[in-house]
Symmetry: C2
Subunit: 319 residues, 2 copies
């Protein structure tokens, strides 16, 4: 297989042996893979892949067709159009994926769009529902709404019946975010004037979070998923926490065990697959790069101002 | 009735009209009342009583006998030995208390000990179990273990089957805390060397909490209940939260609705009443002052180095 390889900060394509199907796993012939902030961190050596995943092949989400199934896996999966979130190894033409982690791609959705679905939407669903306990009628603030998880969170929040406020630098991408279901789009400096919010999804980091912490409703839940753009240390007012009875938590999907991931993916699938099939949720694609242009893709990802997912066309084919 | 009254920072005793029994309430003839940090804050004007409670009579816990019952209240309560946590008004010879908030004092326990039970143990139970989800076999760190809530939390943690580490300034009160069930007693500066903890109960504030935040086990729960002694703003490492999947929350009982309090009190009663009756949990009393000496009691409370509760003997009698 052809794989993106990280070698002491450098990024290059390399021929590697194809993975062989292990028990309870499948080998996917990838067509598209997403680029995520984690990949850029991994390239810089600060976010290694968890144990059990390829150490030097980045990429946390993919879409393609099941090529081979391992022992104990339903053989009828072979040939199916699937997408998946993985601990690493997606930016290659083949990836070994636990069968329990597969999401079957609805026939109404292209494999390109599916290549940016799994990481963004499973992360958003986990954060909003399983960590944030977002309920219909509550106010949701998505901090960093223009990125992959942000656009997924705006749509998922809307789907769950929440009032969604999308926060972006300078209130950018207003029309796109309103089209995805945001009730309002505000700039960072407007957060201080918002009505109190029930759930904060923080995707940028401390600089954004500090402002949102001043607008918590009673029993607010603050879920921190990303800090790459805003710093990782926040000055937290404990009296404010006590007064509002707020809860702050955070997590990454990547570090979880296979069983934990299977559980989260199953829940997200139950909630999101049908709306995805009907087109009620969608993956906005900022730009798609050929695998050969992976360096350009990473450079583009690092630039501000994109809207939606950055994809690699790993092995473009009919989808 | 004779009542402690706060008047622009001054504290004095004053004759006030006796409360009359409202529907679903009882009037308690108090014998003992606890002194809590909240009273000193209220005196300084920074922690007003919540709506529906006496605005200028401090005191958040009491023990005595039911003197009168209001409409809708079981008349056989009259004369019973009870203790209660209240939103204010306990440091007086009479207090109006919602009947649903009463805790009947076991016949093995003196009303003096009962006077320091309700605030400390209901707060500890709420924090450890209902907010912190402490489970048997987990490691509990109690930061500020020598005070009223601290000594209650050490005992409650032990009763729940947790491994209890008591943290006090300079590791003081070692023998007393070990006698209450702490597995180890450490000084603040030793926190950095502890094994990772599952639940942190923070009773002191940011200065203590900063150290505990460096010792969180995966899925740790941090519950902040008091900040008076250590500052209210903490520098929180969001990457650490994400890595450990920790949760930070906090709350006070005082601000909750009557129904919420009734629920918490009922749960604490179910879990703690029988162990209290059997003497497995107990209220260590630092010192008891006559109501006439309430100024001295507040001054003593403000001093460091006490162990257990500070009480006022409101109307000492046979108990």
């Amino acid at each position: 297989m052809l794989a993106t390889v990280i070698d002491r900060g450098a990024l290059r394509l390399e021929e590697r042996p194809d993975p062989t199907p292990e028990p309870a796993h499948v080998v996917v012939a990838n067509e598209f893979a997403g680029v995520n902030a984690a990949d850029l961190l991994q390239r810089r050596g600060v976010y290694p892949a968890p144990p059990g995943w390829p150490a030097d092949v980045p990429g946390m989400e993919l879409a393609g067709r099941v090529l081979e199934v391992g022992p104990g896996v339903d053989a009828t999966l072979r040939g199916r159009r699937v997408c998946a979130i993985v601990g690493g190894g997606a930016q290659a033409t083949r990836t070994l994926v636990p069968a329990a982690h597969l999401i079957e791609v609805p026939d109404t959705v292209s494999l390109a769009a599916a290549g940016g679905f799994a990481e963004a939407f499973v992360t958003a669903y986990d954060a909003l529902v399983l960590q944030g306990h977002l309920a219909a009628g509550e106010r949701l603030l998505v901090s960093g709404a223009s990125g992959g998880v942000g656009t997924a969170a705006v749509q998922t929040g809307r789907l769950l019946g929440a009032h969604v406020t999308a926060v972006t630098r300078a209130g950018a991408h207003r029309s796109e975010l309103l089209a995805l279901g945001a009730h309002e789009v505000v700039a960072l400096e407007d957060v201080a004037t918002l009505e109190p919010v029930d759930v904060v999804l923080e995707l940028v980091g401390a600089a954004h979070l500090s402002l949102a912490l001043g607008r918590l409703a009673d029993f607010a839940r603050v879920v921190v998923i990303g800090v790459a753009g805003g710093g990782s240390r926040v000055d937290l007012d404990l009296l404010g926490v006590m007064r509002t009875r707020a809860t702050l938590t955070g997590s990454t999907l990547r570090s979880r065990t296979h069983d934990e991931k299977a559980d989260v993916i199953a829940r997200a699938r139950d909630a999101l697959l049908e709306p995805w099939r009907r087109g009620e949720i969608t993956v906005p694609i900022a730009r798609t790069f050929a695998l050969a242009d992976v360096l350009d893709a990473y450079a583009y990802f690092a630039e501000p101002g994109k809207f939606g997912k950055v994809l690699l066309a790993v092995a473009p084919g009919p989808s």
